[in-house]
Symmetry: C2
């Protein structure tokens, strides 16, 4: 016997609004009706409407722009992901799980990006390369740059499903990468190896050699894991750090 769940008004409000957005009755970019308006329309109190809106806000269907007023909008993949990553953290995901999927997704991204090969991508990657060279020379942190390098490739695929799938993995990868690059045993060699791999990848992109792109990307990710082992870090440790990459 299924426990019957009686309808909550604020849930109804949430669903009604979401449906209106999906149906296009509320268009993205337009401001959401005021709380009092909605309250009147749905025949409930402003309080109830507000609770419904909170849910909507969390899902990314409305955003606050500029002033206080809420605007209808589309959820972006990188807004959905942080929640997912935190969920994974709670589940005590191991680095192995993360790495196994990252390997596939990064190679996949590289492959797709290569097949849509654009000059702009190569340019952007070259720019990233030279920034990284400079950063290494000055002993600066290169984690952000590495993340950016891979993001550039992923975005070049123009595949939103891939971007969505990749985002939580990236977020969790960040602390692992940081840990590795700061580790005494790998601090010296890792940045060089990393840069070297990136160079090969860019070169392969430029040569429009799809097979080489995939191969180098694969080597690159595998090498990362090797460094992890080499540093004496346990791949079956949980990826538990909660450092998050800066966003602009």
């Amino acid at each position: 016997m299924k426990r019957l769940v009686l309808p909550k008004a604020y849930q109804a409000v949430h669903e009604a609004l979401e449906e209106a957005i999906l149906d296009g009755r509320l268009k993205t970019g337009e401001p959401l009706p005021t709380e009092t308006d909605l309250a009147g329309k749905f025949g409930v109190t402003r309080h109830t409407v507000r609770e419904g809106i909170r849910v909507l806000e969390q899902t990314g269907f409305v955003k606050r722009e500029a002033g206080r007023r809420l605007f209808v909008s589309l959820p972006r993949y990188d807004e959905l992901a942080p929640r997912a990553s935190r969920a994974l953290l709670m589940q005590k995901v191991t680095f192995r799980e993360l790495w196994e999927v990252a390997l596939q997704l990064e190679v996949c991204a590289a492959d797709l990006a290569a097949s849509r090969n654009s000059r702009k991508l190569v340019e952007a990657l070259r720019e990233n390369l030279s920034q990284m060279e400079a950063a290494i020379k000055r002993g600066r942190d290169i984690v952000e740059l590495d993340i950016a390098f891979h993001s550039l490739i992923a975005e070049a695929t123009e595949n939103r499903v891939l971007l969505l799938a990749r985002e939580p993995v990236t977020l969790l990868f960040y602390p692992a990468l940081k840990k590795l690059l700061k580790h005494p045993k790998t601090r010296e060699i890792s940045p060089q190896r990393l840069l070297e791999a990136h160079r090969h990848i860019v070169q392969a992109f430029q040569d429009r050699n799809n097979a080489a792109v995939k191969e180098w990307m694969s080597k690159h990710i595998i090498d990362f894991r090797r460094g992890y082992d080499f540093a004496g870090l346990d791949i079956d440790d949980i990826a538990d750090s909660r450092v998050e990459p800066a966003r602009k």
Copy 2:
């Protein structure tokens, strides 16, 4: 000049609670303190607390069990995914994007599952096979069974990152698969081809032939796309149906 965003009390409540859960101060399975308690603790009104809780609820950090009381819990990957899928729908994702990623993830899942090969998986898959044979004989719908087949493999990987990445893809794949299996041009042949592929996959699992597992899974997914083309459906159409698979 960055627009300064003044702190909202309900957001603070949400964050405080989420942190308490992540820190383990609030343990999963335990009931959340009552609204009045929290209101007192945070020094805000019950209503403000409620708004914070709505957000928490949406994120999956609290669930309603049985009665009305809320219980602390862990978000599950299949609770996060529907939101992600809906977001993708809004972005008018094409079937091509979906398929490109699905191909990689399914092969990846097959690979990982094969390396952890367990007798239980093979048994479950065999069971699924015979159900599907029966369903085809009776002309019943096999979409659910196909989804279940692939989910069994994915779950056998015991990789939560993979499960999370895969879930939104699966949800969106569902309507596409349904469309194909109902299409007049492919209705007759597709189920047979699908079943045949599944048989090969199961056999490869049983033989502990990892390479064969990957190869057949790959063929299987590629064949799906071929059917899509054959039916005259445009792979660059948006995956816009909002049918959702039944959950038990």
